[in-house]
């Protein structure tokens, strides 16, 4: 989608402000919402869908919110869309009457192993290489309403294929929760604007 998140090349965002000796989390709640995102979304949805939920935040809110506020809003929205929690439960902070208690997908015992494995996106399926390294290409000029990893600044631009990375999950428009994701060959072009 042509959203505010796609900010490569924009002007007027101000100076970069590196912080000396920055802590990993500035407040305890930032660490909690980070961990909640990983734990509650473990085995649910997919990473591209999660990114798209942040893209769907209203643009003014997107710019207003801090990074982990976006993670909080995303988590609330994803859990409601997945049916893990209801709006009423979120509003009251209490499980709905009669709801059955689940078993956490991510227990403390498996955190290290789960992080260590990660979620590889390479796929062992055949996909012919349409391009060769050093070949001149032009990025498509697309404006999908769903998710895409092709930023606006690169659309329609000429470039040279720098690398052929093999076959990966193709995130373009793959934001259906739990939907099967197709794979495509991933190339690393250089764009020269």
């Amino acid at each position: 989608m042509n959203g505010i998140h796609d900010m490569g090349g924009m002007h007027g965002m101000g100076p970069i402000e590196p912080e000396k000796d920055e802590p990993v989390f500035h407040e305890p709640w930032e660490g909690r919402v980070f961990a909640l995102n990983l734990a509650a979304r473990s085995g649910r949805g997919n990473i591209d869908h999660g990114r798209h939920e942040i893209e769907l935040l209203p643009p003014a809110e997107y710019l207003r919110m801090s990074y982990y506020e976006k993670w909080l809003a995303r988590l609330e929205n994803v859990l409601i869309k997945l049916g893990v929690i209801s709006r009423e439960e979120l509003a009251t902070g209490k499980p709905a009457a009669g709801s059955v208690k689940a078993i956490p997908a991510l227990s403390a015992a498996v955190v290290a192993g789960t992080l260590g494995r990660g979620r590889p996106a390479r796929r062992d399926v055949p996909a012919a290489a349409r391009f060769q390294v050093n070949e001149q290409v032009r990025a498509r000029n697309l404006h999908p309403e769903g998710h895409t990893r092709l930023p606006r600044y690169a659309r329609g631009k000429k470039g040279t294929i720098a690398r052929d990375h093999g076959v990966f999950v193709f995130p373009h428009n793959q934001c259906a929760i739990g939907g099967r994701k197709p794979a495509a060959r991933l190339f690393g072009p250089f764009y020269r604007a």
Binding site: G14, E19, Y68, I85, S107, V111, R119, P120, A121
Partner: protein, 209 residues
């Protein structure tokens, strides 16, 4: 920590406003529903506060500086090379190393979100996730580097790598001159997080450059 948190000049407004309270309420709901295990949350926070951070990447860089064969493996398949030192997994599943040299400077950004090689650098700093860095890295990389105090000669080619959905980039910075006698461990201590993102070069303490 003055001025540390971006969101706090506006945090006091209509309910539900305070993220700390909202997070607490959500956590308690999810624990009560059996969706999350609070001990797993503790373990996740501890992992990224204390175990996985830029020291991982620094060890990869130092090894590449002292071992030419390792460096070759790193540049060929950074995922496998990082795994040799025990680093991999979440947000480092597919790692690519980019070698900086006298005439080439690589800079890493994620213009669309905040993709970052967690397995070797830990979680990204606020500036990396901020609108100013994400917007400008691809249109004014030299200006961005200048803001970090790095002035590159015009004959140095700047290559900006905008992270894809799954590839994570690690910059292999240039080994500073005058470090020939240093051990791998001493070299690792010189390597900064920013040098592995590409917003800095590595200078020796006392080097005025």
């Amino acid at each position: 920590m003055a001025g540390a948190h971006q969101g706090h000049d506006h945090a006091h407004q209509a309910v539900p406003s305070d993220p700390a309270l909202r997070v607490k309420a959500l956590e308690s709901l999810l624990v009560e529903k059996g969706i999350v295990d609070p001990a797993a949350l503790d373990a996740l926070v501890d992992t990224y506060e204390n175990k996985i951070g830029p020291r991982n990447g620094a060890r990869v860089v130092a090894r590449a500086w002292v071992d030419p064969e390792y460096k070759q493996r790193l540049l060929t398949d950074a995922t496998a090379a990082a795994a040799e030192l025990g680093y991999g997994g979440s947000q480092g599943e597919h790692l690519v190393a980019l070698e900086n040299g006298p005439k080439v400077h690589n800079l890493v950004v994620c213009t669309l979100c905040s993709c970052y090689p967690w397995s070797v650098l830990g979680l990204p700093p606020v500036w990396y996730k901020s609108a100013p860095y994400r917007s400008r890295a691809v249109i004014d990389p030299r200006g961005v580097l200048r803001e970090f105090g790095l002035e590159l000669d015009q004959d140095v080619e700047v290559r900006v790598w905008d992270s894809t959905a799954e590839l994570r980039y690690l910059v292999l910075p240039e080994r500073p001159a005058g470090t020939g006698q240093m051990s791998e461990e001493e070299l690792a201590a010189l390597v900064t997080r920013d040098s592995m993102v590409g917003t800095a070069r590595i200078t020796l303490p006392g080097d005025a450059r």
